[in-house]
């Protein structure tokens, strides 16, 4: 086993200096100030356990920039070796912050008290992959062809997705249902486009998804295509249909590119190609951005203006934009 160390921080700040350090600490670890304050006020405390000396040195350098003292201690499997053990009650808070210190928060894992299925999203934000543990004799709905790996006792059934819209849009009209017969089973789900993945637990709510954003959902979530209305669909240049996910249970959706969650209060404008999902409470209108000159020359074309109160998820890249970028590279047929 390689040698590892624990990182213990200590300081003797007065209140103003402490406030500054908290802000810096929160920024450094990308966490809320509240958590940072909890950790710093409980110093001296171990913020990270069993790390390699290289990593520890990086932490030391960053923390000392903030004026926080750092002691590296040899990790010991026995707690006896710790010279001044941190109070047990404070350790979890510190650990929580330390977990966030991983540079890119790449994994989302469900909590123990999560009401839906246990799941894990790895590889965020660029190459998300979803692993769900389906409890015995329960079912999960998965977008057609998105299943990548699964336990052998999972049984697959293919069903038509609700709503006729899918026939028209050219998207797959099928959804696969995987049932875990006999005991809990694991299924790995990979969306088609590389990008981020989001999860919401619907509690008798409705969420609208852009046509290709659906990944998987719990059995009690009704997934169907919904006609957007002629003006909303046509002018947006996107599909005429949205997916409506309604009911109670888990819902996973994916993006092309990274995902940004926006709390809308009042109104918010999103390019039609970058909408991933939005909550039902929001009203939306497709309109032009700015004046007529902007409509034709801004490169933005039509945008979606959301109003009301709710959430919108957007993606930082767009499939359609990428396709137009590729267009000049398409081969031209040779003339005889």
């Amino acid at each position: 086993m390689s040698e590892t160390v624990n990182i213990r921080i200590h300081h003797d700040f007065d209140e103003t200096a402490l406030q500054q350090a908290i802000t810096g600490f929160a920024a450094l670890f990308k966490t809320e100030e509240e958590k940072a304050s909890k950790v710093l006020r409980s110093a001296p405390v171990v913020i990270r356990k069993n790390v390699t000396p290289d990593v520890a040195e990086k932490f030391r350098a960053a923390l000392q920039n903030l004026g926080i003292g750092v002691t590296l201690e040899q990790s010991a499997s026995q707690t006896v070796a710790e010279p001044a053990p941190a109070p047990v009650s404070e350790a979890p808070a510190a650990e929580a912050v330390a977990e966030k210190a991983t540079p890119d928060n790449a994994v989302i894992e469900s909590d123990k008290d999560h009401p839906g299925y246990a799941f894990k999203i790895e590889g965020r934000p660029d190459f998300s992959f979803l692993t769900v543990t389906v409890p015995a004799n329960q079912m999960i709905k998965v977008e057609a062809s998105a299943m990548a790996t699964m336990d052998t006792h999972l049984e697959m059934k293919t069903r038509m997705r609700g709503g006729l819209g899918r026939l028209v849009t050219g998207e797959s009209i099928f959804i696969n249902e995987f049932t875990s017969a006999g005991g809990p089973g694991e299924i790995g789900i990979a969306p088609a486009a590389p990008g981020d993945m989001g999860h919401v637990y619907l509690n008798d709510d409705t969420i609208y998804l852009q046509n290709s954003a659906f990944v998987a959902s719990g059995p009690e979530v009704e997934v169907e295509s919904k006609w957007q209305g002629l003006t909303k669909g046509f002018f947006s240049g996107e599909s005429l249909f949205l997916i409506r996910a309604k009911g109670t249970g888990d819902l996973w959706f994916n993006t092309y590119g990274a995902m940004i969650e926006i709390d809308v209060k009042g109104d918010y404008v999103v390019d039609t190609g970058n909408i991933v999902a939005f909550t039902e409470g929001l009203d939306y209108k497709v309109s032009k951005v700015g004046g007529y000159k902007s409509l034709f020359f801004s490169g933005e074309g039509f945008v979606c203006r959301f109003s009301g109160e709710g959430k919108v998820w957007i993606q930082t890249r767009g499939v359609d934009a990428f396709l137009s970028w590729l267009h000049p590279y398409r081969p031209v047929p040779k003339r005889n």
Binding site: Y268, V269, D271, N274, K293, E300, P333
Partner: protein, 227 residues
């Protein structure tokens, strides 16, 4: 103008926060979302400057004529910008200096930065790539994007970069377009074509991937288009 870069380095986006009176000029098509109070104006030139002549100059340079100007009438607003290809972004602050930016890498800049779009110092016609170059000068913040990762190279002396891999460079550098190999035939067969040779002292920011190489790599798998 506050800049926050999100989700670096794979699929970065820039969140620009503007206060009343501030404005931000962005490449056409860069906006992916914005708050409802954000005003957008499309012009063929930097607001209040230039005019028809500059627009024509830019047309000659083979570049989109249009820029979007974002501003908030009152209070505070935000605009989120993204690119088409995946990759990173970089923030840079000009302090009364000049930065040459490859046209496709320009994302947005503050109002204190002047954009000279018809900048012909870099004879793009001869570079063998369909790229254009912008000369950003003045003082203020700006954001550039890259295809793939972005990395700085400190040049002191001479250095060669393939034209397709250049994101931006300090104007303090002298440059010349040249061939990569010792003979023209070798350069051509090696797929390197034309490269840029920098001389002097300054920084060149490079992107790890060349967009047109990527496009041509995909080409055989794409459906034919009508000629």
């Amino acid at each position: 103008m506050d800049i926050e870069l999100l989700h670096r380095p794979g699929n970065a986006a820039a969140r620009i926060t503007l206060k009343e009176g501030e404005s931000c000029t962005a490449e056409a098509g860069a906006m992916i979302a914005m708050s409802g109070n954000m005003g957008i104006e499309t012009t063929t030139h930097k607001r209040g400057k230039g005019g028809l002549l500059k627009a024509v100059k830019r047309m000659v340079a083979g570049e989109s004529l249009f820029l979007n100007h974002f501003s908030v009438p009152s209070g505070e607003g935000e605009v989120i910008m993204g690119t088409t290809l995946s990759g990173d972004m970089m923030e840079y602050e000009l302090d009364n200096e000049s930065l040459i930016v490859q046209g496709g890498s320009f994302m947005c800049c503050e109002s204190g930065v002047e954009i000279d779009l018809g900048w012909q110092g870099f004879k793009s016609l001869f570079s063998g790539e369909s790229v254009f170059w912008l000369n950003l000068k003045g003082s203020g913040k700006l954001v550039v994007s890259s295809f793939g990762a972005i990395y700085p190279v400190e040049v002191d002396g001479e250095y060669i970069v393939d034209t397709g891999h250049i994101v931006a460079f300090n104007e303090t550098l002298d440059f010349s377009i040249t061939k990569a190999g010792s003979s023209w035939l070798q350069s051509f067969l090696g797929g390197e074509g034309m490269v840029c040779k920098f001389k002097g002292k300054g920084t060149v920011w490079c992107q790890s991937h060349n967009p047109s190489s990527f496009g041509w790599a995909m080409s055989p798998g794409l459906k034919q288009r009508r000629a």
